[in-house]
């Protein structure tokens, strides 16, 4: 309670000063809209669907990239986690590729795919791959060796091993890395859209700024805060629930 009251003091004060000073003419900067106009623009964008369509596009791409990264990262991570020798052979190459910022691949992806979903999803996948891959490797390596001996005795194929032993045993930690990657996916998708891809929330944000619809721009920024916050809260709660579920199903 104390937290809610104290926590809302600063934002309320900030918004009140902003609103009052722009109404009284103290603040005439073109870069600042009025809080009331921003709220109106936000409601307008939500009711005419423009914000929701853009959100859908961003989420679609982020999810596509994340899925690619998850499939590739978990399979490669399982292979490398099972074979320490192979892991040491491949590791320097991974360490050489990993520090390259994903956004630096934007021009390359543009050249290969042109504008659209695939170039953006590729960048998202590249950015999400590393946390998933690295956590999966160490999670698989930490699996109780006797479980893997069981798999040997039962002469399981790699696909069976992955589904019946590795994924259930390493699930909790892989799940954490997927949550981290989901946060990265949204950030990278919006970034690619802001830099050049003409679709989604990032692009409509840039468009609002360039056409000097400052109220629309702030409204979309606020919306980004809201969905980012909601996504974080969701991922934080999904994690424990999924772990409980996987324990229960065992």
């Amino acid at each position: 309670m104390r937290r809610i009251v104290l926590g809302s003091i600063l934002p309320t004060l900030f918004i009140a000063i902003w609103e009052i000073s722009s109404r009284s003419g103290l603040l005439t900067l073109e870069s600042l809209s009025r809080p009331s106009d921003i709220v109106r623009a936000g409601i307008g964008g939500l009711t005419d669907g423009s914000i929701l369509v853009a959100t859908g596009q961003t989420f679609e791409t982020a999810l596509l990239g994340l899925t690619f990264a998850a499939v590739a990262g978990i399979i490669a991570g399982a292979v490398l986690g099972l074979s320490p020798v192979l892991e040491r052979v491949v590791n320097p190459t991974i360490e050489a590729l990993r520090p390259i910022p994903a956004v630096a691949f934007i021009p390359l992806a543009l050249m290969m795919f042109g504008f659209g979903v695939s170039m953006e999803a590729t960048i998202v996948a590249y950015a999400c791959l590393w946390p998933i891959l690295i956590v999966t490797i160490s999670a698989v390596r930490a699996i109780e060796p006797r479980l893997l001996e069981v798999a040997d005795i039962l002469e399981m194929t790699f696909a069976e091993r992955l589904r019946k032993i590795i994924l259930p045993a390493a699930f909790a930690r892989i799940n954490v890395s997927l949550r981290v990657a989901a946060g990265i996916a949204l950030v990278v998708a919006v970034t690619v859209e802001i830099v050049l891809n003409p679709r989604g929330l990032g692009y409509s944000l840039m468009l609002a700024q360039q056409s000097l619809r400052v109220d629309v721009m702030y409204a979309q920024l606020l919306w980004l805060c809201v969905i980012g916050y909601a996504l974080n809260a969701l991922l934080r709660n999904i994690g424990p629930a999924a772990i409980a579920l996987s324990r229960a199903s065992r």
């Binding site: 104390r2 937290r3 809610i4 104290l6 926590g7 809302s8 003091i9 600063l10 934002p11 073109e30 870069s31 020798v85 040491r88 052979v89 491949v90 590791n91 320097p92 190459t93 360490e95 050489a96 590729l97 520090p99 390259i100 910022p101 994903a102 956004v103 630096a104 691949f105 934007i106 021009p107 390359l108 543009l110 050249m111 290969m112 946060g183 949204l186 950030v187 919006v190 970034t191 802001i194 830099v195 050049l196 990032g202 944000l205 840039m206 609002a208 700024q209 400052v214 721009m217 702030y218 920024l221 980004l224 805060c225 980012g228 916050y229 996504l231 974080n232």
Partner: protein
């Protein structure tokens, strides 16, 4: 003399085999040389640019952008983090607002920063600082709020006032956390330096890569990518060395 580890040779061989495959595919024109110039061409561009010195200007520009933005984020982040981590009032006042802003992708601040500051270095720095502040801020909050109770009692016994407690006990105790946060922040600062260069046509490696694509000089593009990778790697390792050196006292006790 220790013999060379065969796995290290295999690791080198693996990397070389990948590059060689790419080279062969490019030579045979199986993959388009417009998109994938052969590695030898990319490498020769890189070597030529290192030799004639033209790689250093953009490298230094991006490096300074990254460092200044990171320094700004670190100062503000440690200050706010220390306040939140050591005072309940500051925590209750600030944390809800910060929690709400934090998930915002830093690149989304670019349009606002452009409105206020134009396509300038100040714009770039403010965006970098906004994005890079969170890891160091969170780490500092954690470091300051998890000072061991015994250390608190020591400071009470010695009659430290609040400032002395923060300076002599809380800050050193939070230092390992802060450094860990600083490393994450540095990686983010490099990413945002590249993004703002692309967005605002500011000089640096990010812009060079962008420009190389526009004029279809893909060998230049790859050379730029390699330089960025080297830079990220070097920055991270420099900080890791610093961490090991500064935190040596910790390993002595442990």
């Amino acid at each position: 003399m220790r013999s060379i580890d065969p796995i290290k040779i295999a690791a080198l061989g693996f990397a070389l085999a990948l590059i060689l495959t790419w080279q062969v595919l490019a030579e045979l024109r199986i993959i388009s040389p417009i998109f994938f110039p052969s590695p030898s061409r990319a490498l020769s561009v890189l070597v030529a640019r290192v030799l004639d010195g033209s790689i250093w200007t953009p490298l230094v520009a991006t490096g300074l952008r990254m460092l200044f933005g990171w320094a700004l984020a670190s100062l503000v982040g440690v200050a706010i983090g220390a306040a939140i981590g050591s005072s309940r009032l500051a925590r209750d006042l600030l944390e809800p607002t910060l929690d709400f802003i934090r998930p915002l992708p830093a690149s989304a601040m670019i349009p606002i920063a452009v409105l206020f500051l134009g396509l300038s270095n100040a714009m770039s720095l403010s965006v970098i600082a906004f994005g890079a502040i969170w890891p160091v801020l969170l780490a500092t909050v954690h470091g300051f709020s998890s000072v061991q109770p015994e250390l608190r009692q020591v400071s009470d016994v010695l009659g430290f006032n609040r400032l002395a407690f923060l300076k002599k006990i809380a800050l050193p105790s939070a230092f390992p956390d802060i450094i860990a946060g600083l490393r994450v922040s540095l990686a983010i600062a490099l990413i945002l330096a590249v993004v703002t260069e692309m967005q605002a046509s500011l000089p640096g490696l990010g812009w060079e890569i962008f420009y190389a694509q526009r004029v279809y000089r893909s060998a230049d593009l790859y050379a730029g990518l390699v330089m960025l990778g080297v830079m990220g790697f070097a920055a991270n390792h420099a900080l890791m060395l610093f961490e090991r050196r500064v935190l040596r006292w910790r390993n002595l006790h442990a």
